[in-house]
């Protein structure tokens, strides 16, 4: 049954090649923005690293940069482009999902208008709402988490104690974020197939172990491809690295749409009637 689900997902994914190309172009554009932003940050930092010949200057750099990254104004100034980028994407993403999910579900229907745009029109608003709830569910613990770290940092002195205090917190947050992500995905499927907004909690708990395992496999696949591509860009410079970097967008988009398709088939087989 598992292989069958994968196979079906694979098949429907390959019918969506056009979308995969479009989506990878879309991600490539954001990638360029992100690259420029990182470049400007790395540049503005690295040009201030003093040479060792100036007495104590490198220590001064370390001390003062430490103060700077704990300075709220400085951080906000430098993070603003990233925050704008993220909020734009946070709005666009549910609309794209609305179209994509709709297309996958209704792909056998003949329609004169593009299924994708129909999807955006029909369920874009609900997906936006779901994504807003998603944001709130992520932001509230994140806010708590950050203020906790700020308070804690004042009392912790050794690197070791910082590590042991924060790593479990980060892990817990990642697991929580993953769980919310799963709930959101199946809320969206439920909306697409049943036109209902409530999360399919019962479904999620019934198939919880499967969902964990499946996410883990996808994580493994993505991680492997990430390592592969990263090592390419580390060991080969120049044009080849850049090309590989672009190709990567295609692969990761393919994986992501494959994941969505498999989730779809899993949902339609096991969904509550």
């Amino acid at each position: 049954m598992f292989f069958k689900t994968i196979k079906e997902g694979w098949d429907t994914t390959n019918q969506l090649m056009g979308y995969i190309l479009l989506f990878s172009m879309y991600q490539l554009i954001w990638g360029i923005f992100l690259y420029r932003w990182i470049q400007s940050i790395v540049h503005s930092i690295s040009q201030r690293i003093p040479i060792s010949e100036i007495k104590d200057a490198q220590q001064l750099f370390m001390i003062e940069s430490g103060y700077l990254i704990s300075n709220v104004d400085f951080i906000i100034n430098h993070l603003t482009p990233l925050i704008i980028l993220l909020s734009l994407r946070w709005v666009l993403s549910p609309l794209l999902n609305a179209g994509l999910f709709y297309t996958i579900h209704y792909k056998h229907q003949e329609s004169s208008r593009s299924l994708f745009f129909q999807g955006i029109v029909k369920q874009g608003a609900s997906f936006l709402f779901i994504s807003f709830v998603h944001l709130v569910l992520l932001a509230v613990p994140l806010y708590w988490f950050i203020s906790f770290i700020k308070n804690k940092l004042a009392t912790l002195t050794s690197l070791e104690s910082i590590f042991f205090n924060f790593v479990p917190l980060v892990l817990v947050f990642v697991v929580y974020a993953w769980f919310i992500h799963i709930v959101v995905i199946y809320m969206q499927w439920r909306k697409t197939t049943h036109n209902a907004l409530l999360p399919p909690i019962f479904f999620i708990f019934k198939h919880f172990l499967f969902l964990i395992g499946f996410s883990l496999i996808m994580l493994l696949l993505l991680g492997l491809s990430k390592i592969l591509f990263s090592s390419v860009s580390i060991f080969w410079a120049g044009l080849f690295a850049i090309i590989m970097h672009q190709v990567q967008y295609y692969f990761s988009t393919y994986f992501k749409i494959l994941e969505v398709n498999i989730q779809y088939h899993f949902w339609t087989k096991n969904k509550p009637q």
Partner: protein, 667 residues
């Protein structure tokens, strides 16, 4: 296959649960500290009341048996106190005679009940300090308080019903550190009043300068202490009156000068160190009574422990009176008495030469036991505390704290500025003086540019201690920035003139509670120039110096016949106040040549243009770190960043990883 998938799930689920338990445990154990931190502090309202007075004929306090007065003695305390070492309590009675130094009748008296700062979590002190002070945290049993049991005048009139609490700084109804007493009849100018009172103090577990650690007791701010009555014209006051402030998290003390006669009764095993001179001691019924007397001081502190090892040496300097140095050592430091004495003598000798005589006959040094740092590193008139003995071989912080606290004998003890409202006049001056002795006697020169980097939140030096936004802002300004400003002034006028300024200031203002403006006047008089602009920027204002290399442009000028030339444009900005002398800028080119330029540094910015056969590799403002008040060295340097392949790769990689995180959540 589905079994394998399930198996992975089985593995992850328990792992997650374990993490959750771990996390819950951690967050529980940290909850209590969080609660204190999240308390917000109240602030508010400067309280500047005032008074006049030079020529009022004062009624003589019956202090004839004390030495010739050095100060205007306004208060005379006679205190009897007994230590209950089981309950960590002090049971006391005191007779205070207060002379009205002003020209107006005084209707009420005000008392600082400092131990009430530790009464609850809601006092202004605890709220503001967040339960920790000077790196020392409040413990569960750090609560303490002061009770006034009875209060009556010399002619037997009971005044307990006439007392009330005021909170002039923040209106915090949970704060009971400042008490008023309505007098049955006014004290006329120059006349005196004598009040008797009985009181008890529950000592806190040592925290914020006072309390106990096992059988070590530090009694500082331990008796009902009358507030300062300021005269007209004093510290810029327009009218005479009380200077009233509660006890705050960031604030030390301020009091009028006078005389103290104190009897301290302790169980026989205890040894007592106290301010002033030991006048006698007797023993009966397993109790010892120590008798201390001090004159021309504005506070009295004492400490008791059965473990003190007492050492005594005399400091002798030609043309100065002899000073008996009494060292009350913790046994852990019994081998270190030489270091303590050497540091104390070095401090006394240099300060005597630089500023003036230490006019008291005794200086006591208390070394608290391990765990007693809450009582450590503190100054009281003629009694100072070292850091608690923790190490057998401590580093130079041992000497540093002794020298610092003895420095306080001058700026806190004798000059006695208002530490509520302009603490830098004490801590800034003392830190400056401490550095000078450390350098002269131990060859330890502090790198002021590192200390300037530490100033991330510069603020005005003359302001109420509790108006600084947070604890660290108080410390970095009052101690560090204050000291650096004095160093900067020294650089401007030269060392000899600076010595002259400080000596004149000390001699002119000892025992007189000067203000920042009074110091400015001395500086202007000695240097014969106006310092108004300088004080406006750095002392009454919050300015630092910050020169920055803003941008750097290089263009190639290609020439068909000759090798190419490069046109450079470097922009330097002035973001802070103006430094007093031209700023030097060093340009280094890739062919190994250097160009050094100077800039007045008075304009907002300046462009430097070069045409050079090779490209600039870096530029640095003030590469020798001579600008003392420059606190942002990070923008003093720029290099022509190399666009290497390696850099591109790392940028790509970083982009990749951030992208993966974003892409795993959204499109």
């Amino acid at each position: 296959m589905i079994h394998i998938v399930r198996f992975l799930g089985y593995f992850l689920l328990p792992a997650f649960c374990l993490l959750l338990f771990y996390f819950i445990f951690f967050s529980q154990s940290n909850l209590s500290t969080l609660q204190v931190d999240s308390n917000k502090s109240y602030f508010e309202e400067e309280d500047t009341i005032s008074a006049n007075g030079a020529s009022t004929q004062l009624e003589q306090l019956s202090t004839l048996e004390y030495s010739e007065p050095l100060s205007q003695r306004i208060v005379d305390y006679n205190i009897d106190v007994e230590l209950d070492d089981k309950e960590n309590q002090l049971i006391g009675s005191q007779t205070l005679t207060w002379v009205n130094p002003g020209k107006k009748p005084v209707q009420e008296l005000f008392f600082h009940l400092y131990p009430n700062a530790f009464q609850s979590k809601k006092t202004s002190f605890i709220v503001e300090s967040g339960g920790s002070l000077r790196d020392d945290n409040m413990k569960k049993n750090s609560y303490g308080e002061m009770m006034i049991h009875k209060l009556w005048t010399n002619n037997g009139k009971e005044l307990s019903q006439n007392t009330y609490f005021i909170r002039p700084d923040d209106g915090n109804p949970h704060d009971f550190t400042l008490m008023g007493v309505k007098l049955p009849e006014p004290v006329l100018p120059g006349k005196q009043i004598t009040l008797n009172m009985t009181f008890s103090v529950q000592m806190p577990y040592v925290f914020a300068r006072m309390g106990y650690v096992e059988d070590f007791f530090m009694a500082g701010q331990w008796f009902p202490k009358v507030a300062v009555y300021e005269l007209k014209g004093m510290r810029g006051r327009e009218d005479e009156g009380w200077n009233l402030h509660q006890y705050h998290g960031n604030s030390e003390f301020y009091a009028n000068f006078g005389t103290y006669d104190v009897l301290i009764k302790v169980p026989s095993k205890y040894i007592v160190a106290g301010s002033g001179t030991l006048a006698g001691m007797h023993e009966s019924d397993n109790m010892k009574t120590y008798h201390f007397r001090a004159a021309d001081v504005h506070d009295f502190a004492w400490s008791a422990s059965p473990h003190f090892i007492v050492e005594e040496e005399v400091f002798h300097l030609e043309n100065a009176n002899n000073v008996k140095i009494k060292l009350y050592l913790d046994p852990l430091h019994s081998e270190l008495k030489r270091r303590y004495f050497y540091a104390a003598k070095a401090a006394l000798e240099n300060f005597t030469k630089w500023y003036g005589d230490y006019p008291y006959d005794t200086l006591s040094i208390v070394v608290p036991p391990q765990g007693g740092n809450g009582a450590g590193g503190m100054e009281y008139p003629t009694l100072v505390t070292a850091w608690a003995a923790a190490d057998k071989e401590p580093d130079s912080s041992l000497e540093r704290v002794i020298i610092h606290e003895i420095g306080h004998q001058y700026w806190y003890g004798m000059v006695a500025s208002n530490e509520f409202e302009e603490a830098w006049l004490d801590e800034g001056f003392t830190s400056y003086a401490e550095d000078k002795v450390m350098e002269k006697e131990y060859g330890i020169r502090s790198k002021t540019y590192f200390e300037a980097s530490y100033i991330t939140s510069p603020a005005a030096l003359k302001q109420n201690a509790w108006d600084y936004k947070y604890k660290n802002e108080y410390a970095q300004n009052v101690y560090v920035r204050g000291k650096l400003v004095l160093n900067d002034i020294e650089n401007i006028i030269g060392k000899n003139q600076m010595d002259h300024v400080l000596k004149t200031y000390f001699q002119q203002w000892k025992f007189k509670h000067p203000s920042t403006e009074d110091f400015q006047a001395v500086l202007e008089e000695v240097t014969n120039q106006s310092w108004a602009d300088y004080f406006h920027e750095f002392i009454y204002g919050d300015k630092m110096v910050d020169y920055a290399i803003e941008s750097l442009q290089i263009n190639e000028i290609s020439n068909p016949e000759e090798p190419p030339l490069y046109e450079h444009k470097v922009t330097i900005n002035r973001n802070g106040a103006i430094h007093y002398e031209p700023v030097s800028i060093l340009f280094s080119f890739s062919d190994g040549t250097f160009i050094e330029k100077e800039w007045e540094g008075t304009d907002k910015n300046k462009h430097f243009d070069f045409i050079h056969p090779s490209t600039l590799s870096w530029a640095a403002i003030d590469p020798d770190h001579t600008i003392i008040l420059e606190n942002q060295h990070i923008n003093n340097f720029i290099n022509t960043s190399v666009k290497s392949d390696a850099k591109i790769r790392w940028n790509l990689l970083l982009t990749d990883w951030i992208e993966s995180v974003i892409n795993s959540i959204i499109w």
